[in-house]
């Protein structure tokens, strides 16, 4: 899903720089007000994990390949705003040092993988989990669905950004200047290979890491209080 330079014309890639700059700014503000020192190692690990998990390319019939992003479980652990920062730093490095994703397309790729995935995953997980206990095994299913849905919707966005190119960017004779395939080709291609393969991997990764942390220390999850904090609140109520 790392769109390279040359596939997006200036209409789309400039639009996404304009969209992303305030999002990065706000995410930075949120990080400054919310981040606890206990979470710092998890923030660093999240970005590192996402970098590595994106290297696990899996083949699909038809000769294409793709990967999971890991941003769903990251959002459930460190929160969607911190996830934007972690994934964006990773994507910038991938573009600059490893040529994975274009320089002009950094903002677009950060939107798809760094905003859509964490936000869809976090709120889908919250919505499906409802009021169930944090230790409930239903939450593992919720995390898996959130992982699947988030990457599939990000693929839909990428398919749209690519497929809109022939409409927005063409010569006077109508020859495409950038991505040559129309929406009717790009959207099904991106959505299907993700829905049937890469998003399933994302769901499995999300569920495994969720289940492990759920068994180890639920206070790590974003928005969950630790036992110590819960006791403090209890005492304050009694007092």
């Amino acid at each position: 899903m790392h769109i390279p330079d040359g596939y997006l014309g200036p209409h789309i890639y400039i639009a996404f720089w304009i969209i992303m700059i305030p999002i990065w700014y706000y995410a930075g503000q949120k990080l400054t007000t919310e981040l606890r020192s206990k979470q710092v190692p998890l923030l660093a690990l999240s970005a590192a994990f996402s970098f590595v998990i994106m290297m696990f390319n899996i083949p699909v019939p038809g000769g294409s390949s793709g990967h999971a992003v890991g941003a769903g479980i990251i959002a459930i652990i460190i929160g969607p705003w911190a996830a934007i920062i972690a994934i964006s730093v990773t994507l910038v490095l991938q573009a600059m040092i490893f040529g994975d994703g274009g320089i002009t397309a950094i903002a677009t790729n950060c939107f798809n993988m760094g905003v859509v995935v964490p936000f869809v995953a976090y709120y889908a997980y919250k919505f499906i989990s409802g009021n169930s206990a944090i230790t409930s095994s239903a939450r593992i299913i919720a995390a898996a669905i959130a992982g699947w849905l988030s990457l599939t919707l990000a693929a839909l966005c990428a398919g749209f950004e690519l497929g809109i190119q022939p409409i927005l960017e063409h010569t006077a004779e109508g020859v495409p200047l950038y991505m040559p395939y129309p929406l009717s080709v790009t959207v099904p291609a991106m959505v299907l290979e993700h829905a049937l393969a890469f998003s399933i991997l994302e769901a499995v990764i999300t569920a495994i890491i969720f289940a492990y942390i759920q068994r180890t220390d639920t206070s790590v999850f974003y928005g969950e209080k630790s036992k110590v904090e819960m006791n403090k609140i209890k005492w304050e109520v009694i007092a």
Binding site: G6, R36, V175, Y178
Partner: protein
């Protein structure tokens, strides 16, 4: 470092070691074709694509060792380059976020 963080870090190291599994998928991802692959598909290289696609030359293009033998030549070299890329990536993003995190974190 608490037990959870330590175990997650161990998991990450294991992932780095097995990262070359990701080289099994030799096909290019949808919409990420190089200039020649696009030419094979549609019979021409779009003009805007030609101008933009050469914008940046990454030092470790496609997670390969810089100026090293390319991945068609040797699976071993490709795997070594892939693991090295993962180590470099993890060290850079990990330390960058650890530094930023410690600067802004409370308590």
């Amino acid at each position: 470092m608490d037990k959870l963080t330590r175990n997650l870090a161990i998991g990450l190291v294991l992932l780095i070691i097995i990262a070359p599994i990701g080289l099994i998928a030799s096909g290019t991802a949808y919409g990420e074709w190089a200039s020649d692959e696009l030419n094979d598909k549609i019979g021409y290289v779009p003009q805007g694509f030609e101008e933009l696609s050469d914008l940046w030359h990454a030092p470790m293009q496609d997670y390969n060792i810089p100026n090293g033998p390319s991945f068609e030549n040797s699976k071993l070299v490709a795997s070594a380059g892939y693991i090295l890329s993962a180590v470099i990536g993890v060290i850079i993003v990990g330390s960058l976020l650890y530094f930023i995190g410690n600067k802004v974190a409370k308590e």
